[in-house]
Subunit: 317 residues, 2 copies
């Protein structure tokens, strides 16, 4: 057990709307969780907000912070280290890891946010022991990640695992900034899609609340009929996407995480029904579809674990 | 070079309609190619036809035959070795490799037909040097295969790579026997789908010819307008499927093979246009979409190569 690294590290999850961060202490617990809204920030403001958040956490730590990991809603070009494409963040072309190392003066590890979330589930959560695991994170967009034999699969240049952009409807709605597709999975099952569907259905938001995916989930958990029907429909589209992923990967487990997943079984049960009806019988009979163990915290935790694993690699090398 | 195996082996490609087989001689050339129609045969008849074909080839060989490889349009359960599910062949539950070894008294290697085709392209064809390669074989059905770092990816239990069964249309046509899905890629781009579309469009078959995918390709190559339009439409659906595969795998290359691929650019050009319009920009900019080098022979050649590689593994072990 001498090889298990236990340095204190910081994990940051940068989604399309929120930045979440925490300390991962030597004892394995996430501490001092913090959150900021970053929607609408420009590039320099966003990088400042990230650095400020990490510095604040570092001041609150009781031990020295050895590294920081960032899961960001973005493709990272493996060859250049540049942020290559992002649907929701103004960081395309930014050498993200280098920019953060310069500001923070600790080793920085960067990866796609969904890859980080799956790493957490793989090391200690819903995908532990899986040879083949697939994850979908339902947030502002839909992130995707694939793990094969314990390692994240990134494709030939880092752009693999964009599972939110499998096509479910040739004539569906345009996907959004950063994706030229139409009718992608993300168009149907993201928090944004849920909010749009709720607005179209005339779901009323309580005074002072924005009608977002989290609110629709909350209303559904409270028994609101229209919100429940919207989550059921989201679950059916999710199930259709999972059918494709099962036929492609024959996975041991499909993990569903992200902010929307707090509504859990309200959409996973209809998703499982579609899978039972439509997926290839052999692969479909074995696969387990479950919520992320670490829920919306998986991204932060995975980013911290990745930073630690990179340190361990550096020491070993 | 002493490690490159050069035994004479037999490769068999068992699709939904035809059985094709050949000798792979010590000099690397495919010889004595042969073909039989197997559509409609029952299980015992099919196994007899396979064994007969191999025995005939063995009699024609000038050297002893060391092994036989079979690519079959079927899922193979990696744990039990049983044929687990097949859309087009009556062999579910058959311990295929054991049954053939008993009849042939040589080592037998069995895998999905599309996996065998990709192995040939990977070792010496359109996917040589690719870190991440994806293949679609358009025949009676649509086979799929994935190669990562030079090896075929099979999923957790052997059912991975069923790329013909990614969903493109939630409300599309039922996929067919063996797949409970609707609107799968296979429903739109197989030879059978092409023949159905041609029949619906009133394309006339010359006297004595069946209106199948090969005939529609032939008519299109001859300039027949309706056949050309059908191949263009097939190419657009194919492109939509390839968009999903690019977003999932970020591949170096997508190889298109199988019987329908003889019509080549008539459908690959429209497929590439859809990819250029809809795939993620970063992954889409790098990927190459090309025909199988070995065309409809890739399955046979890959099966023979797999048999040889298995022999080499056995000697080394």
């Amino acid at each position: 057990v001498a090889n298990v690294p236990t340095e204190c590290v910081i994990g940051v999850d940068l989604g399309g709307t929120n930045l979440k961060a925490a300390l991962l202490a030597g004892d394995g617990a996430l501490r001092c969780e913090t959150r900021r809204v970053i929607a609408g920030l420009r590039t320099a403001e966003l990088l400042d907000a990230l650095a400020d958040t990490v510095c604040e956490l570092r001041e609150r730590a009781r031990e020295p912070v050895a590294a920081a990991g960032f899961g960001i809603a973005c493709l990272i070009d493996e060859r250049s280290g540049l942020a290559a494409s992002s649907t929701h963040l103004p960081i395309v072309g930014v050498p993200f890891a280098a920019a953060m190392e310069e500001r923070l003066a600790v080793p920085v590890r960067v990866d796609n946010d969904a890859n980080m979330a799956l790493l957490a589930e793989l090391r200690a959560g819903a995908a532990a022991d899986a040879r083949v695991a697939v994850m979908l994170t339902l947030g502002t967009g839909v992130g995707g990640a694939i793990a094969l034999d314990g390692e994240i699969f990134r494709g030939a240049r880092g752009a693999g695992g964009e599972l939110g952009h499998i096509v479910l409807d040739r004539d569906g709605p345009p996907c959004g900034p950063g994706c030229p597709g139409r009718g992608c999975l993300e168009s149907f099952v993201s928090g944004s899609a849920l909010a749009r569907a709720a607005a179209a259905a005339g779901v009323p938001a309580p005074a002072g609340r924005a009608l977002d995916g989290a609110l629709v989930s909350e209303l559904a958990r409270g028994g609101e009929e229209v919100a429940l029907a919207l989550l059921r429909s989201l679950g059916e589209w999710l199930g259709l996407g999972i059918v494709s992923l099962i036929n492609v990967f024959d996975p041991d487990v499909v993990v569903v995480g992200g902010g929307v997943c707090e509504a859990g079984e309200l959409f996973l049960e209809p998703a499982r029904a579609v899978v039972a009806e439509r997926a290839g019988a052999f692969a479909g009979a074995h696969v387990v579809i479950r919520q992320a163990r670490f829920g919306a915290r998986a991204g932060m935790l995975g980013a911290a674990l990745a930073a630690r694993e990179a340190l361990a690699g550096r020491v070993a090398a």
